[in-house]
Amino acid sequence: MIKATIHKALNTAVGSMKLNVQLSIESGQLVTLYGPSGVGKTSILRIIAGLLSADSGQIEVDGVFWLDHEKKIDFSPQQRKIGYVFQDYALFPNMTVRENLEFALEKGQDKNIIEELISIVALDELQNRKPNTLSGGQQQRVALARALVRKPKVLLLDEPLSALDIKMRSKLQDYILKVHREYKLTTILVSHDIGEIIKMSDKVYCLEDGKVTKVGDSLSVFTDNRLSGKFQFTGEVINIESEDVVFIVTVLIGNNVVRVIAQESEIVDLAIGDKVIVASKAFNPVLLKV
């Protein structure tokens, strides 16, 4: 169980902003922080990890206070024992894949965990390579494995998949879910990708301007409650064109482009680049094996 109350004045590219959030995360949950860039998502992770100091607040993990501003408790990053996967992976260039993992071992810790993690994230073939000879997805797997060597209870992932292509993303999402379940982790993920969030997380915090605007399970947060769709997908509007009396909206869903007919009233709020839900109510979808 993680309970956190965080207050922090941040200086962002667009000016100063007050971060004011409360999080409450059950053990074993995978929770996502969602919101536009510069809204304070990474700062929240960094404060939980102890890499950034909060102006005031409390962080309680499984009954232990990592941070309590009033009682002047503030654990160092070293004391907090978390797994952290950085956006740029932060692998040590001077060490091989294996050495990167071994570096994370605690004094006297059993070395078997290294073999175990290497095989979980399928790095056997790459273990003697240096990180800068690996692809983005491979580096990501190393970073994930390294973060788990100390057997942390909390895993923090800062947009771990943003630099990868869609196929690689989906593979790595599976790796993350696998270790999340296998090691019974409490995981906090920062992500922009609604598809990814719906696939992975139990709960999502939507952030805007340093504040939580919506909390809930991912499906209900991203799908409008008025809708009881039989099947629905989220996608991005890539084109809107008018055709006689109707409009044709082209939506990118994952890898697929679909064209949806819309009334003028439906497209007033829509612009290219918006995230939308494509849902159907009245018809039964047909499944064909390919």
Binding site: A49, G50, L51, P77, Q78, F86, E106
Partner: protein, 224 residues
């Protein structure tokens, strides 16, 4: 035939100075690279001063400070029995101060050039600052360390003003090659002066070439 003592002395001075500098510069450069202290600009300026100051100025003040006629110099002599003036240890201290920016500069810029996340990743993995410095930061700035080492060494080899001011010209004690050259020219022994000069020229050329070869990756490519 030339006297080899100045050459041996110069080599010894440059080696000792470089080792002392390495030990001092790593913590200093670390502090300069990561500190947000308000006095940082002042320390930075002081470290860089020898770059622009005439060596004689530095030498003059060190001479004043170390002279037994002064309070600091006499205190050193009374308490520790050390006399820094006209001695090898005095030369080392002078050279260390004089070559400090050549060692601190490359290490500091090497450290500042590393992504912060490397350091943070190590902390999050439970490693202390010291462990992080020696296992993560320093191994990843090897080219900067090499540049610092070699520049400090070569700069000490070529030093003249500071040495002359605080060391004087005592054979086998403080008479380094650069001073020996000056000496020979004064005595109109041009061929000896030429020998010393040529030697310095070749040594510094080889040292610097070596750095550029290594840091430019030429040697690695050659071996592959």
């Amino acid at each position: 035939m030339i006297d080899w003592a100045p050459i041996i002395l110069t080599t010894k001075l440059a080696l000792v100075t470089t080792i002392v500098l390495l030990i001092i510069s790593i913590p200093l450069a670390y502090w300069l690279a990561y500190s947000k202290s308000r006095i940082k600009p002042i320390v930075e300026t002081l470290v860089s001063m020898p770059l622009v100051l005439p060596p004689t100025v530095l030498g003059f003040y060190l001479l004043m400070a170390f002279s037994p006629g002064n309070s600091f110099g006499s205190w050193l002599q009374d308490v520790f029995g050390i006399r820094l003036i006209f001695s090898f240890s005095g030369l080392v201290i002078g050279s260390v101060i004089y070559s400090l920016p050549f060692m601190v500069g490359p290490i500091q810029s090497g450290l500042s050039g590393l992504p912060n996340s490397l350091q943070e990743a190590s902390y999050v993995l439970g490693k202390s600052k010291l462990k992080t410095l020696f296992s993560v930061l320093l191994p990843n700035i090897k080219p900067s360390l090499l540049t610092g080492l070699v520049l400090a060494f070569a700069h000490t080899v070529g030093e003249f003003g500071v040495v002359l001011m605080i060391g004087g010209n005592i054979p086998e004690k403080t008479k380094v090659v650069s001073i020996a050259i000056y000496d020979e020219v004064e005595a109109l022994n041009y061929s000896n002066a030429n020998m010393y000069s040529l030697l310095l020229f070749i040594i510094t050329f080889i040292i610097l070439l070596f750095v550029y070869l290594i840091n430019g990756g030429y040697l690695k490519r050659f071996w592959k």
